[in-house]
């Protein structure tokens, strides 16, 4: 770099830096209201964000995270939930009003992206190689916590005064149970594309996680079809089964369309742009019809992975490359949506943690009899971390449904994600 341009730029920056506040102040004095509070907050927000990125990438912070056991995407990303909470606070007001409305599509989009990733792991060829009895094990370890969490959650909501005759009561209990029934893998990282599509096998435990997530997506599909939002007036009155078929149809249609567009030797930025467009289209159609974007994109992703072609490695690479940044953006917006002031949500946290652990304990006890010895690759019942998909499910529900219990469920799931991971870490350190 030459010294003169740097000097020129430095002078320019200094001159403009001095001139701008002066011009601005004069402008305000002459009567045109320039909202300086917004400017100051914006600058502060950007500096804070930069600080957060710096902290996140600093080796010592990473070491500290390792020491604390914060390796899961959930807890590692909780700083972003905090950022969203702070930015949306009325006294800060950055992530509120029009700004939040404009950014809200990112929630749908991130849900769709996550759905596409989960669907992309639904490779029937890999599933064929699973040992016998896996399906039974999955069913046991999904249904047991599902039932226990659902019953306990319903009991707590009854205690809060929610009438069980209300149509949304069952729906809310199912949302909580579905979110509570899934657990996350040990590392929170997905297998690298090379491992995934070069003939190498990912480990068994990761496959079980995938199946667990798939079971949860299936639950969400049923939920989204049979418990339609009451506040949207559709042109046609359709039954839940028809909505389920529409969900499947839209997913398959978008999957085939994306397949036709993505195949044919496209690469680089074009391939990434088309992937982005396919996910946006799928989640946009889903959101437009009040179907869960996670489910529609899951189906599209499953189509894409099971159809032949040279697109799979590149698509997996693009999907996983943007997963983490999108997830952090999603968590920031989820934080902005989170109502932390309602104590009833916080009281649901221990109920969810304990009932979930109870469900796994119950499954552990039943497993030797039903599945057989040596089959289970699950972590200990009290240390099964909450999956990213659980958060996606409750945020998905929050975007579709309205009702007093929805914020409680969000608090319960986000709160229990932290609690369970800390418990899991304490156990690991022992």
């Amino acid at each position: 770099m030459l010294p003169v341009p740097r000097w020129v730029v430095a002078v320019l920056v200094a001159a403009v830096g001095c001139a701008s506040p002066h011009a601005a102040v004069t402008h305000v004095e002459t009567g045109s209201a320039v909202p300086f509070g917004i400017l100051a907050k914006t600058v502060l927000g950007l500096v804070l964000l930069m600080g957060l990125f710096w902290l996140g990438s600093h080796p010592r912070v990473r070491q500290f995270q390792e020491w604390l056991g914060i390796r899961q995407a959930i807890t590692a990303g909780f700083a972003f939930v905090g950022l969203g909470l702070i930015a949306s606070h009325p006294s800060i007001g950055i992530l509120s009003g029009k700004v939040f409305y404009d950014l809200a599509p990112l929630i749908h989009f991130a849900l769709g992206w996550l759905g596409m990733i989960i669907g992309f792991q639904f490779d029937v060829r890999v599933l064929d190689r699973l040992p016998r009895g896996t399906a039974l094990e999955i069913a046991l370890y999904t249904l047991a916590p599902f039932v226990v969490v659902g019953v306990v959650g319903a009991a707590v909501m009854l205690a809060y005064g929610r009438p069980w005759t209300d149509a949304t009561f069952v729906r809310d209990a199912i949302v909580l149970a579905t979110a509570g029934a899934i657990f996350a893998s040990g590392t929170g990282d997905r297998p690298r594309p090379r491992d995934r599509f070069a003939g190498g096998d990912s480990d068994e435990r990761h496959r079980l996680d995938q199946l667990d997530e798939i079971a949860a997506v299936a639950g969400l599909a049923v939920l989204g079809s049979f418990f339609r939002p009451q506040w949207v007036g559709f042109q046609w009155a359709l039954s839940g089964s028809i909505w389920l078929l529409i969900t499947l149809g839209v997913g398959v249609f978008v999957g085939l369309l994306a397949y036709a567009i993505l195949t044919g030797g496209r690469r680089g930025a074009e391939f990434a742009a088309l992937t982005l467009g396919s996910v946006a289209l799928a989640s946009g159609v889903a959101g437009y019809l009040m179907l869960p974007p996670l489910v529609v994109c899951f189906i599209a992703g499953a189509m894409l992975v099971n159809l032949p072609g040279d697109h799979r490695r590149r698509l997996w690479s693009v999907l996983t490359r943007f997963e983490r940044p999108l997830y952090y953006l999603f968590l920031t917006l989820a934080g902005a949506l989170w109502d932390v002031t309602d104590w009833r949500g916080w009281l649901l946290v221990p109920a969810l943690v304990l009932s979930r652990a109870g469900g796994y304990l119950f499954a552990d006890r039943l497993a030797p009899e039903i599945v057989g010895e040596g089959m289970s690759m699950r972590p200990a019942w009290f240390a099964a971390p909450v999956s990213v998909v659980s958060i996606a499910i409750v945020i998905s529900a929050q975007t579709i449904y309205r009702g007093p219990a929805v914020p409680w469920i969000v608090t319960a799931v986000l709160g229990s994600a932290i609690v369970v991971e800390l418990m899991s870490h304490r156990r690991a350190r022992r």
């Binding site: 770099m1 341009p5 740097r6 020129v8 730029v9 920056v13 403009v16 830096g17 701008s20 011009a23 004069t26 402008h27 002459t30 045109s32 320039v34 917004i38 914006t42 600058v43 950007l46 500096v47 930069m50 990125f53 710096w54 996140g56 990438s57 409305y101 950014l103 599509p105 929630i107 749908h108 949207v232 007036g233 559709f234 042109q235 249609f253 369309l257 036709a260 567009i261 030797g265 690469r267 680089g268 930025a269 074009e270 742009a273 467009g277 946006a280 289209l281 946009g284 159609v285 889903a286 959101g287 437009y288 019809l289 040279d310 590149r314 690479s317 693009v318 940044p325 953006l329 975007t399």
Partner: protein, 445 residues
């Protein structure tokens, strides 16, 4: 054939989704932004590929998709749905400006500075004068100008002349990126359109204030001067601060630069207008600072942003196409066409004079003027300002402006692409293939 079938499937899906939900229902809003984004991105890409096969710039395909799918043609994207993409367009402007600023390293453009300054001054002032005169002469055939007295007519025509002299850094950046152009010609054109934009913004502020005063409206020259000073210098200052912040980020943190820059663009796109700053100048200034303080990091940033930028560019140009009023164009087509020809001819003549006076290289003397022909974002914004601020005269004038812009946006990129190919700059930029996206099976790098 495959592209056409995919286009038909996309249109079918969009139409089917829209038929299930009542227009204007509660569910409108959040989801339709994504739906519009996905549809526009995929369909514009497919149309651009079809056009590329017959040698037309992809950018024209993006704009044409917007025109065809927009509310004034097939109405696949109603006005409300298009409006939901405002944020994407805002982010696109910021990314384009940041990348344009990032290309303008003083070290690299210093040898071209005299030519850029001459092209800017001759191009903007000369074209504005020529178009003002033309509009003044044509005023008897323009009904919206018939009621104005002589002074008001002159200043009103001058304002329209300045608006019509606006150029488009976005189109130039889009074409440079599409053709992988690199070289003296590309740098000169980019530098010229960036400087011209700054000049047009300042000039339009003053001339529109004088036009408003001549028309009998309330206008204070002092207020206008302060307003422009704030917009120009405030934007430059704010941008310089963001540029410093970004430089520090790129040097010290590095990780997640794409996300940080995208967030920065979102923030600027959302907040610049309410605080009366120009997002384009803010991010141009930021890009300039980054380019000149951390040149090495800038090239890495531009490469990193390529993946993020392409979809945003596509949607930006398609949205710009959707906002073009075809119904209005039909009514003003003859005069709009005349003005397009006049503008093109005057820019050619002025370009030749400017580049000859500075003894610019042959390719710039021959083709330099083509970079000043396309119009898009700034010209559209000025047309909107005219429409909102000048009553009935403004509505008629903005229709004419939009007609001229529509033609310039659709046709002129073709000429600029030819110029980039002829100058030898096209394809000169060595692209580093993104190593994180694996190649197709059996393909080696």
């Amino acid at each position: 054939m495959k592209n056409l079938l995919c286009l038909a499937a996309l249109a079918l899906l969009l139409n089917a989704a829209r038929s299930l939900l009542p227009e204007g229902g509660d569910a409108y809003g959040v989801a339709q932004t994504e739906l519009a984004f996905g549809f526009v991105l995929l369909s514009a890409f497919l149309v651009s590929e079809i056009l590329a096969q017959i040698g037309l710039p992809k950018l024209v395909g993006y704009v044409l998709t917007g025109v065809l799918a927009g509310p004034h043609a097939l109405n696949l994207l109603p006005a409300k749905m298009t409006a939901e993409l405002d944020l994407v367009s805002g982010v696109a402007i910021c990314l384009i400006a940041l990348t344009a600023g990032g290309e303008l390293s003083f070290r690299r453009i210093r040898p071209l500075w005299r030519t850029i300054a001459a092209l800017t001054l001759w191009g903007v002032l000369g074209a504005a004068l020529a178009l003002t005169t033309a509009l003044y002469v044509l005023s008897p055939w323009l009904p919206f100008l018939s009621t104005l007295h002589r002074a008001a007519l002159f200043w009103f025509c001058a304002m329209l002349g300045v608006a019509l002299s606006a150029q488009s850094p976005a189109v130039v950046m889009g074409l440079l990126s599409e053709t992988r152009a690199e070289g003296t010609f590309s740098r000169t054109v980019l530098g010229t359109v960036v400087m011209s934009d700054l000049l047009v913004i300042g000039l339009f502020g003053f001339v529109s204030a004088l036009a408003r005063a001549a028309l009998g409206g309330e206008s204070s020259v002092e207020q206008t001067a302060l307003g422009i000073a704030w917009e120009l210098f405030g934007s430059l200052g704010g941008g310089a601060f963001l540029g410093l912040l970004l430089s520090v980020y790129l040097k010290k943190i590095r990780d997640g630069a794409q996300v940080f820059v995208t967030l920065m663009c979102i923030v600027v796109a959302e907040l610049a207008v309410p605080v009366q700053l120009d997002p384009l100048i803010v991010m141009l200034s930021a890009g300039l600072v980054v380019a000149n303080f951390s040149e090495e990091e800038t090239s890495r940033l531009v490469r990193d942003l390529e993946t993020v930028a392409l979809p945003v560019y596509i949607v930006f140009f398609a949205t710009a196409g959707a906002t073009l009023r075809l119904d209005v164009l039909a009514g003003v087509a003859p005069i709009a066409l005349l003005l397009v020809i006049l503008r093109g001819a005057s820019l050619w003549l002025l370009g030749v004079i400017a580049t000859s006076s500075t003894r610019a290289p042959a390719e710039i003397r021959r083709w330099g003027w083509t970079g000043m022909l396309p119009q898009a974002g700034l010209a559209l914004a000025l047309a909107l300002l005219v429409q909102r601020g000048f009553g009935l005269e403004g509505e008629g004038a903005s229709a004419l402006l939009l007609g001229v812009i529509a033609i310039n946006e659709l046709v002129m990129p073709i000429l600029l692409r030819v110029a980039l190919l002829q100058s030898g700059d096209a394809g000169a930029h060595v692209v580093e293939v993104d190593s994180r996206i694996p190649p197709p099976a059996g393909e080696t790098r």
